[in-house]
Subunit: 356 residues, 2 copies
């Protein structure tokens, strides 16, 4: 384990371990959140998603926020101590590479490429444009883990369990079985080129230090928070969205993996293999009840006009969130959330022996 | 934590902690498996399921196997040091109570009652028939946990995550978010009658000491193995079934929660809310492809005649298994499996501090 932690500390010298990462939630995790997370000793990500047209602005803002912080965060080879997350099938590669070359983020997080060849191109061009930028790839199955590790030699593999909010594999296991199997499988691979395999980070269903410590025992070297950060002051979400996250409980029953919300929002482009977990609302119930997509979308578009009132169990705006949403009960600063989870982790892992 | 462990050791004095329990898998976990698990310091369960007509025979056999073991296992108030699991909606209550009164198992595990009132009756009649028999109830959501704790005051709540094999809630979260939320919610309940709340055990996706230790950090006082024990020498399954369990990997992709297998096997009676996780095979793929239930069942019934050859990815016999099936790689004795997981738990929880 020491060597994995050493690698993390070398590549991201500002972090404190155990490592807590902020997921690159598209449109929601922007410069504010990413910087607060990195300042708190985690690794913050800007969720560029499918649209990189304003990525330079976000990276500019992150640069400026970071430069006004004293003392400045130590980083590896002067990379920017935040990462950028891409939804590769939809993101413009040449534009993205320009931003990566210009701002040199500490990490790029790749997810859902249109093909393995495309991922290979993203990876090699990123490495060329910014050799110190670390390559993170998100996977949701053992099969994906094997093919991606063999093809692109990622620095980090983000293992996402099916409890995660937002997009991921439509079908999958949770971290409790997925992470140990990915870990065993990756460890069994042989590499001829000196590559020693990726660092495994865990995502999906982790909202507090209990989930985070469990993930460490399952084989992760750090954890990713998504849903928990929806209820952070820096989350770029409407008050209605955030209230819904605080309201929902019993997430296994009140969230669902579906393509319904993508359809309503006109998000085309996701592969058949992927869908997203969100809180059950009227749109979903109506879709399940057989309402036509056209009518459902018309009602959705009317709801959009209501603003914050458009969110809720009986309303129609989409609230992507993971099955751990019931454990999110309070809005806090993203930095405070990261520190809390990390300190909780130290307590739980340090005290685990007492459970015997 | 000490008081929970004290309660466990008082109620089941033969156990060794951390506690490993064998799931009452219907038709699969019978006297042989249950006794081997209890002899190894776990708690073994006979899976009576929906049919209690031969329960006396199984309990007779368990009694005889246990009496030939020297030294005899210490038990609480001379109860039989194994448990019995019922699928309550289908089990005959008066017959079950006769067996419980006669054999006094250390625990009864209730699951999927037709109503809360019915569960109440099962519980009160069990307590009347055998006051020292502990009441375990399996739940899959926070809502179920609350209503059951408030209604029947169970000694143990088995919290089942959606990764579990076989039957459970069709929709649900995995242990990583479900267990902490159940734990928080139960802890917040107030009881006027001196009841201090149930002990929480974790089930669903746990196949080795990594999952087991994760469950402990999520709030469990012990763990339940199901899928892992399908590959035990004592499992009452065909060689074909067991080979399929050993073959399958990447369980998030190769198992699925569905009602298809129940329909093919003519298992009617499960509520709409429940389905079962099994390994994807030809029957499932054909059902998904639109084959009529009649045709699919006809093909299934032909497959039954093939014996062990009827199992496999391209075959039609049902292999219920959880998403952790890819971590099951070897057939071992049930007692050895229990000891291995327990010893692994001691190592992982004892050494967790080194992960920091």
């Amino acid at each position: 384990m020491a060597s994995t932690l050493d690698t993390l500390r070398r590549d991201y010298p500002w972090i404190q371990t155990p490592l807590v990462v902020g997921a690159p939630m598209r449109l929601i995790a922007l410069a504010d959140m990413a910087v607060e997370i990195s300042k708190a000793g985690g690794i913050g990500f800007i969720g560029a998603g499918t649209d990189v047209s304003d990525l330079d602005q976000h990276l500019d803002k992150a640069t400026s926020l970071l430069s006004s912080h004293a003392p400045s965060l130590p980083s590896s080879n002067s990379t920017l101590p935040v990462g950028v997350g891409f939804i590769n099938w939809g993101a413009d590669l040449p534009l993205a590479i320009q931003s990566i070359a210009k701002y040199r983020p500490a990490a790029t997080w790749f997810f859902a490429p249109s093909s393995l060849d495309s991922l290979k191109e993203w990876t090699s061009r990123t490495r060329q444009a910014s050799p110190s930028t670390r390559i993170w790839v998100q996977i949701g199955s053992v099969e994906e883990a094997i093919s991606i590790v063999q093809t692109v030699r990622p620095d980090v593999l983000v293992v996402q369990g099916t409890d995660a909010g937002g997009h991921g594999l439509a079908q999958g296991a949770s971290l409790i079985s997925l992470l140990p199997e990915v870990s065993d499988t990756i460890s069994s691979l042989q590499f001829a080129d000196g590559y020693t395999g990726p660092i495994l980070l865990a995502a999906g269903g982790i909202v507090d230090s209990r989930g985070a410590s469990a993930a460490h025992l399952l084989g992760a070297s750090g954890v990713v928070l998504g849903t928990r950060l929806l209820a952070s002051t820096e989350a770029n979400v409407s008050r209605g969205y955030q209230s819904e996250v605080l309201r929902a409980s019993d997430g296994g029953q009140t969230t669902v993996r579906t393509k319904v919300y993508d359809k309503l929002r006109g998000t085309t482009g996701w592969a058949e293999s992927h869908n997203a977990r969100g809180i059950v609302n009227r749109s979903y119930v109506d879709a399940l009840g057989g309402m036509s997509e056209e009518e459902n979308r018309r009602l959705y578009e009317e709801e959009v006009k209501k603003g914050d009132e458009g969110w809720g169990e009986q309303a129609r705006m989409t609230t992507y969130a993971g099955s751990g949403v019931g454990l999110v009960r309070e809005v806090k600063g993203a930095g405070e959330i990261v520190r809390e989870v990390r300190e909780g982790l130290v307590g739980l892992l340090g005290g685990a022996k007492a459970l015997l």
